[in-house]
């Protein structure tokens, strides 16, 4: 039990450090001007934008406080943030508040998200978003 707890703590600290480094890199360097960031493999192979294209630039804009800019780079990512925050809380409280989790993860909501992602994928290629 003790050994497991130590391992868990080490893992959590490592994950926090990695997340911190990751956020620092995305805040400090712009994916538009730096060659440090990989381009979307799906876009390069197919020539079609994927639902995630622009998310690196959007993350850079968000970390620098530019919400409107982030929305222009990837509207889906920015629109999903409030729901993702709610979902994360709900999954952490899943065993303690199962009804809250069931409400947040209602099948209709997930279906709506699925349709939204597919629509976003099609429309952004049609209109060049």
């Amino acid at each position: 039990m003790q050994k497991n707890d130590t391992r868990k703590t080490v893992l959590i600290v490592a994950a926090l450090l990695a997340a911190g480094l990751f956020l620092y890199i995305y805040a400090a360097f712009s994916p538009e001007s730096s060659r440090l960031f990989p381009k979307c493999i799906f876009l390069q192979i197919t020539g079609v934008r994927c639902p995630g294209c622009g998310s690196q630039r959007a993350l850079h804009a968000l970390l620098n406080g530019d919400i409107a800019g982030a929305f222009r780079f990837n509207a889906l990512l920015v629109s999903m943030i409030p729901y993702l925050a709610l979902l994360t809380c709900a999954s952490m409280l899943r065993t303690r508040a199962p009804r809250f989790y069931a409400a947040v993860c209602h099948p209709a909501i997930i279906c709506a998200i699925f349709i939204l992602v597919i629509l976003w994928w099609i429309l952004r290629n049609v209109f060049g978003w």
């Binding site: 639902p51 998310s55 889906l76 899943r94 303690r96 993860c105």
Partner: protein, 136 residues
């Protein structure tokens, strides 16, 4: 009859670990914990001594993981994860708990595949950058 406190699967008598998710039954092996035991539900719920399928919490659907891999990993596998997450919730609300647990595993698997693909692409890109830097 007892249930795994982690995934809710039915346990054979005297199990020391869950055959479904591998969770160890270290706490009170003589008196296995049923899923809703530590669950401060309103008084309307049935007694924890008789666990009903509907009182077990919905299995984790990994929806946040699926959405994030869809947005960041540039492969369509995250979308499969979203579909599987929908199946977890719909099977759970239809009372098909075992089906929901299966869908939960699939949801995790597809998001992990998407994540691994994304990481492999990043790794190849970094190797490519290093080779280009050495050549230049």
């Amino acid at each position: 009859m007892s249930f795994c406190p982690n995934c809710g699967a039915q346990l054979p008598e005297g199990s020391t670990f869950c055959p479904n998710c591998g969770q160890k039954m270290t706490d009170q092996p003589a008196n296995p914990v049923s899923a809703p035991a530590e669950n401060p539900m309103p008084a309307a719920t049935p007694a924890p001594a008789a666990p009903q399928p509907s009182t077990r919490p919905c299995p984790e659907n990994y929806l946040a993981f699926a959405i994030l891999t869809t947005v960041f990993c540039c492969v369509p596998f995250g979308v499969v994860g979203i579909v599987k997450a929908a199946q977890v919730s719909s099977k759970y609300s239809a009372g098909d708990y075992e089906g929901a647990v299966m869908a939960s595993k699939d949801a995790k698997k597809w998001s992990q595949i998407a994540l691994i693909c994304g990481l492999v692409v990043v790794l190849i890109y970094i190797i490519f950058l290093v080779i280009a830097a050495i050549a230049a």
